[in-house]
């Protein structure tokens, strides 16, 4: 019987990288079939295969860490580096959309009336729902910090309460944004104003939904006693991601909603 003499994690062979890559193929070919030939079959298959892959891959990581003990200190360090690098890549992703916004808004073309906001665009009042949204996300940043400290101090009940509040605030933000999208007097097709507004805020909203889902998974894991007071990296990763989502919103609020109005 052989045992390793190092603290690193040699993973079992897994089918999920392959199924994930194939689901990306189905997504891209599915988009072509939908755009050009009005067929949604491949797209639906891509979403199903993507969901199945994500569920099983992350389920396996929980098994490897919590049930098999593979997440030693050095392995956890690697996971931390990984999450940091991923969030940095997301910063670059959003930077592109902010670049596009400032490119168009700092030097508005004659077609827009030479001004920003463009002629005929009635912007959303930044002191109404957008300000509420800002307070909702800032409050959620406080509640997730409360949850983390409760976890580190071994206070199970408060950790669950604070995490639940954080998730509810995330859902509240999403519902408010959806209602704002319906109420807006402009659409994504309304020139470069519409494009920059809805692509930037839309991707942000998607990230709020992803972050809320990640937090919900942490809540379920906490119910099942997965986290200890000094080993809970999944929760920390979710908290980092959540703070990132909050910071992106602050940039959106200041740039697009406030300066851009």
């Amino acid at each position: 019987m052989t045992h390793q003499s190092h603290a690193y994690h040699m993973v079992n062979p897994s089918p999920w990288p392959l199924t994930g890559a194939l689901s990306a193929l189905l997504l891209t070919s599915g988009l072509i079939m939908w755009f050009h030939f009005n067929s949604k079959t491949l797209l639906l298959l891509s979403m199903l295969s993507n969901l199945l892959t994500m569920y099983q891959w992350w389920r396996d990581i929980v098994r490897e860490g919590t049930y098999q003990g593979h997440h030693t200190t050095i392995v956890q360090k690697g996971l931390r580096y990984g999450m940091v690098l991923f969030i940095i890549s997301e910063v670059f992703f959003f930077s592109g959309f902010f670049w596009a916004f400032y490119h168009s808004s700092l030097a508005p073309t004659p077609e827009l009336g030479g001004c920003w906001p463009p002629t005929g665009v009635f912007t959303i009042n930044p002191l109404e729902v957008p300000l509420l949204n800002t307070s909702v996300l800032l409050a959620s940043g406080v509640s997730i910090t409360w949850s983390h400290h409760s976890l580190m101090e071994g206070d199970r009940k408060q950790m669950i309460q604070a995490l639940t509040i954080t998730i509810l605030l995330g859902i509240y933000f999403t519902l408010l944004q959806i209602s704002e999208y319906f109420e807006a007097s402009f659409a994504i097709s309304d020139g470069v104003y519409g494009s920059t507004f809805f692509v930037a805020t839309g991707f942000h909203g998607l990230h709020v939904i992803i972050g809320s889902t990640f937090l919900l998974v942490c809540l379920l894991r906490q119910f099942n006693f997965h986290f200890t007071s000094n080993h809970h990296f999944g929760f920390e990763a979710a908290a980092w991601y959540w703070h990132f989502v909050d910071v992106v919103w602050l940039f959106l609020y200041i740039s697009i909603y406030w300066w851009g109005s």
Binding site: P13, P15, S23, M33, S49, Q56, Y67, I160, F223
Partner: protein, 88 residues
């Protein structure tokens, strides 16, 4: 609940439900079963982690492979179809 807690402002059905939900006692369902899972996933049976949980694992694995491999085959068929002109 005591008059010091804002819970007393709510109707008793609501305040009791909230108290029960956030209570840390084991009575209402969530018990620490991590040790059982650790035993299951550390059993020396040479199963890879993605199949080690039981029959549901095998079912989900097969379902995922069918969807992805079947979908890939279908996407190649679509590519073949889209590559040729079709009379409208």
């Amino acid at each position: 609940s005591s008059r010091l807690s804002p819970l007393y402002l709510l109707p008793p059905q609501v305040s009791q439900a909230l108290t029960r939900f956030f209570s840390s006692s084991a009575r209402h369902g969530f018990q620490n079963r991590v040790a059982e899972k650790q035993k299951l996933f550390q059993e020396k049976n040479d199963l890879p982690v993605h199949l080690k949980g039981g029959t549901t694992d095998h079912f989900l694995y097969r379902l995922t492979m069918v969807v992805t491999l079947g979908g890939t085959a279908y996407s190649l068929y679509c590519l073949g179809w889209a590559s040729f002109p079709h009379k409208k």
